[in-house]
């Protein structure tokens, strides 16, 4: 399996996309930290990048990479290697290279310039989000053989979690404002990895007191160590469940 991962990573590094992604992240983070006098504000600006750009790049790159290496996958399937190994090495290859790009692009400047718990939470959430969207992308790609359709589904998933979902939540909260919504808002948050990551990071940044307006339960949940732990576990579930579904489909798939 290690050998296959090595080939996948080698292949990814050769096409220079991940390189330029790393460079982009690096430039943006340095610019944010350099531009804002207050490191806290730098982190807030980075938050937007992590919530929008990182998922988008992760999901699109993974989908394209999957379809581009389709022939390679077919070749591997002809060898005495299990489907599971093929899938996992593909997943890990892409995941590791994207995480590496994130660590170099965002992680390094953050640790150097704002190496506090806030910075580390931001990095952790960024890495988890990257993996969540790699999982979702693979799930989208194994569902269809058509490359255009696959990319379309991937884009739709990104669009849904980054924009549409929050719109739905807003509509729901406004329409049912006469009802107690404390638990509902907590529940809504867990159903979207982007929201989970955003709130984990915001609780570490100093606006946490404002989030108290969402409700005492919400505030207590996310400000306790157990709450943050559960939120991170939920994010990890967002990585595992789609990947596991994708693996199940890939196992039975007629390549």
């Amino acid at each position: 399996m290690n050998k296959v991962i090595k080939y996948v990573i080698y292949d990814i590094l050769r096409n220079k996309f991940v390189m330029s992604y790393t460079l982009l992240l690096l430039l943006v983070s340095l610019a944010f930290f350099g531009f804002e006098a207050d490191a806290n504000k730098g982190l807030l600006s980075l938050l937007n990048i992590i919530l929008m750009v990182v998922p988008l790049v992760s999901i699109i790159f993974t989908t394209i990479q999957f379809y581009n290496s389709y022939e390679f996958l077919e070749l591997l399937s002809a060898q005495p290697i299990g489907r599971k190994t093929i899938f996992l090495s593909q997943y890990l290859g892409i995941g590791i290279s994207l995480c590496l790009a994130f660590v170099i692009g965002v992680g390094l400047p953050t640790i150097l310039l704002e190496g506090t718990t806030k910075g580390l939470t931001l990095i952790l959430c960024g890495l988890l989000l990257t993996l969540v969207f790699v999982s979702l992308a693979l799930l989208a790609s194994v569902c269809t053989k058509d490359k255009a359709k696959g990319i379309g589904i991937a884009l739709a998933i990104w669009f849904y979690f980054s924009i549409v979902y929050d719109g739905f939540v807003l509509t729901a909260l406004l329409s049912f404002s006469d009802y107690p919504l404390e638990k509902a808002s907590l529940f809504f948050t867990t159903l979207n990895p982007s929201d989970l990551a955003r709130i984990i990071i915001l609780m570490k940044l100093d606006i946490s007191a404002l989030l108290g307006m969402t409700g005492a339960i919400f505030q207590q949940f996310f400000s306790s160590i157990l709450g943050i732990f559960i939120a991170i576990v939920l994010l990890i579930l967002w990585i595992i469940v789609p990947a596991w579904r994708a693996l199940a489909i890939f196992n039975k798939k007629d390549l």
Partner: protein, 424 residues
């Protein structure tokens, strides 16, 4: 000759007050009991177990040493009050008060002053006192340079650091109050000055202020108190050059103004508070040249406020600049600097050509449904704000700054005299 002697003796009685030096509790009680007007009682270093000592004549009660760690210690063993002053012209200084008892029926205090005037309480140290200094129906009292440190329990079982009720012309200056219910408490106190105090880590308010007209408070620092500072039901208050900092919490604010009228709020700094100023039912109050930075909501103006002037303030790096719960606007907002302003200034007169709307759609939504706060800093929220900026529909139409400044105002640098915490 006889006459002369009598006059001489009388004169000496008047002018040459006696000085008593005391070493232990019984000597102290005796000297206080037998001293006459204007005598000095100088207390040597040591521990004195005293409860409910009443001072009913104008004497000077002073510790013999100037270092706080050498102050004589008056200890009540949690059994009652330490000193009750019932006379005018008393001076108490350089003494440490410890372990005042707690009851729910009587407000026991380190020093309680009742119906007196011209009393000075200077450079004392209060530790674990239920109430530190308690003034009731007094005039012309000075409370200067004291350190009051308590260990708060619950709101009901913790007293105030410096408590004043129904007083006039008092001065509270250079004190440090920590760990009480309210750091400084004012009720029905008029024509008074609160200056250069530092209150922190009090479980309710740093300063609690009610029905206290014509007072001034300036150069104070209120840092990290349970709910900040509350000023209520008062007219003609001047608040100048204070610092309100780090009052974080679900229901905390830098300052709560409730039913305040004809007052001045100038040159204050509001840094890192959940809400900088919360205005409710305020009228004709000028909020001028203050700085709001890193607050969750810089100003929350309820619709019950009218005729207030908000001018020449700096709003920098706040999550929300202004939040309000109504549509009508009866206040004037003019010539402030808004960091979020993205208009232009074609004629270079320093004033933006487009009006700035400090109330964002998202903050309006939060006022209606607080739960929407869970979308804070999401793309959707900022998208809605952008759309609303172009076509205002939900935010109050008239709440805007017609002449926003392009550059922040240079405010008088805040340089409060550092209040030294006496260690003992």
């Amino acid at each position: 000759m006889k006459k002369l002697t009598v006059i001489f003796i009388l004169l000496s009685q008047l002018t040459f007050a006696k000085t008593w030096k005391v070493n232990n509790t019984s000597e102290l009680l005796k000297s206080v009991a037998h001293s006459s007007k204007n005598d000095s009682v100088i207390v040597k270093k040591g521990i004195y177990h005293i409860t409910n000592l009443i001072i009913d004549k104008p004497i000077y009660l002073i510790g013999g040493e100037s270092q706080p760690q050498n102050y004589p210690i008056f200890d009540a063993n949690y059994k009652g009050e330490i000193i009750t002053v019932k006379s005018s012209g008393v001076y108490i200084g350089k003494i440490e008060f410890r372990h005042v008892g707690e009851t729910s029926s009587i407000d026991w205090a380190g020093i309680k002053v009742l119906e007196s005037s011209n009393v000075t309480i200077k450079n004392n140290y209060f530790r674990d006192c239920y109430f530190g200094v308690y003034l009731s129906a007094c005039t012309k009292i000075q409370v200067l340079g004291n350190t009051v440190i308590g260990h708060p329990k619950e709101e009901q079982t913790t007293g105030n650091g410096i408590h004043a009720w129904k007083c006039d012309s008092i001065k509270i200056a250079n004190n440090y109050v920590q760990g009480h219910r309210d750091g400084i408490y004012f009720e029905f106190v008029t024509n008074s000055l609160i200056r250069q105090n530092f209150t922190t880590q009090n479980i309710r308010y740093g300063l609690h202020f009610m029905f206290s007209h014509n007072d001034t408070y300036e150069l104070n620092q209120f840092v990290n108190n349970g709910a900040g500072v509350a000023v209520m039901y008062t007219k003609h208050v001047t608040m100048r050059s204070n610092l309100f900092k780090n009052n974080w919490g679900g229901a905390a604010y830098g300052i709560l103004l409730k039913d305040i009228s004809d007052s001045q709020i100038q040159h204050n700094q509001f840094i890192s508070n959940t809400v900088g100023i919360y205005l409710e039912g305020c009228s004709r109050t000028n909020i001028i040249q203050n700085e709001f930075s890193n607050d969750g909501i810089a100003m929350r103006i309820q619709a019950s406020c009218d005729d207030n002037l908000i001018q020449n303030n700096n709003f920098i790096a706040n999550t929300f600049d202004i939040a309000t719960n109504g549509n009508s606007v009866y206040n004037t907002i003019l010539k402030n600097y808004w960091e979020k302003y993205d208009g232009y200034d074609l004629n270079h007169d320093g004033i933006g050509d487009v009006a700035y709307r400090p109330v964002s759609l998202f903050s309006t939504l939060i006022e209606r449904v607080p739960q929407t706060m869970m979308l804070l800093r999401s793309f959707t929220a900022s998208l809605l704000d952008k759309i609303e900026k172009i076509i205002p529909s939900l935010t109050p139409e008239n709440l805007k700054d017609e002449s926003p400044l392009m550059k922040p105002i240079r405010l008088v640098p805040f340089n409060p005299k550092a209040v030294t915490v006496q260690k003992s």
